[in-house]
């Protein structure tokens, strides 16, 4: 049984070649091998959204993907969202609106919100609810999150 495979991928704009253990989830690979610990584990079964990352631009639950499936893909984690020290609009809006408390769900929440704005630059409340309902926030910052996402929409 082969234990490891070599995969090629892009992470936060950088090309990488790495060995990955078969059976390791993408979430564990990101945290333990890429040492990008902004991506969080909350349930391991795709119910909480704390592990959401962008794979080829789409939000996915990294706990339900194997590390080997990253081969040939483009991965963005929360660490890759700010560019040259400049925060993304969504990140700024989350600060302005106090759209987080403990901060544990925040990386996944922000990435899911970023992906929503990429496909729907001016989302309605319903769009936001649909896009973020797979991201649990036990602190209950949902109202502030909704406001932050709306505020970071493109101005009409």
């Amino acid at each position: 049984m082969t234990e490891k495979l070599v995969i090629n991928f892009t992470v936060n704009g950088e090309k990488e070649e790495k060995e990955v253990i078969i059976g390791q989830t993408l979430l564990k690979f990101i945290r333990d091998e890429l040492h990008l610990t902004g991506t969080k584990e909350g349930c391991e079964i795709g119910e909480c959204g704390a592990c959401v990352v962008l794979l080829d631009g789409k939000p996915v639950n990294s706990c339900l993907i194997l590390g080997v499936e990253l081969d040939g893909k483009d991965l963005i984690t929360i660490e890759g969202l700010s560019k040259n020290g400049e925060l993304d609009r969504v990140q700024k809006a989350f600060i302005d609106h106090a759209a987080f408390q403990c901060g544990y769900c925040t990386p996944g929440m922000i990435l899911a919100a970023r992906a929503l704005l990429d496909r729907k630059p001016n989302p309605t409340d319903e769009d936001i609810n649909e896009a973020l309902s797979g991201n649990l926030c036990r602190c209950g910052a949902y109202q502030e999150i909704r406001e932050a996402v709306k505020a970071s929409a493109e101005k009409k």
Binding site: I22, G46, E47, G49, L64, L66, D71
Partner: protein, 276 residues
Amino acid sequence: MLSYDYVKCNDLRLACQELEEGEQVYLLAGGTDLIVGMRGGKFSAKTLVDIKDVPELKVLEEDDRGITVGAAVTLNEAVVFAPIRDNVPILAEGCHSVGSYSIRNRATMAGNICNASPAADTAAPLYCLDALVNIKSSEGSRSMPIKDFFAGPGKTALNKGELVQSILIPRPYPEGKGVYLKASRTGSVDLATVGVAVQRWGEEVKIAIGAVAATPVRAFSVEKAINEKGEKNYADAARLVHDDISPITDLRGSREYRYHMVEVLVRRGLEQTLGV
């Protein structure tokens, strides 16, 4: 962490070969049920065959026969596919009811039916549309109506060595409205307590229901009353649904509540599709 072999397969023939020759081979497309199932000990895999990039399985197209949804097409891809949205919106609703947006970026319709949960949200709409499951193996191909595909909770009619290549929503498409009405505990991301699909076909209806028996079921008693006997009182018709279902009590709802909710949702489905 679990140990198994991983084979990335870009060739349908080779995928079938792996399935036929290997022991405890599982197919990985979206993985959203598979990885949860492996973690929970429901599946014990020796080999995973990753089929998500097999070209034949990526097919999402409409032709003379109908709409073909390849096994590796994600639910989000299906939801926004114009022929589905325009011709069979009930299926788009079903797809949209599965999990969260980020789950639907991975999860597939084929995976949803292969997991064979009686509560699968795409199943009831597919039953109403008389969908066909296209099955492939090294021996060849065969098709089977969706109703024959579900064999019991977690069980399908697939034989060893067979995989689902695609799902066909055949022409002619239904004339008239279809709705998928789902009852759940939170009304947000949740499994169906019951799921009711009602599809108008001209002057007739087809009704299918999830989470009320070992497999999704058609509500033939109700259909017969409407289609053959011309029953206009939808409440009376909906009451007949009790003969078609045999729900159980579980964490999501009691048997009694399920009986009740199916009746309510069937009636509402009839009202919404046939008009009050």
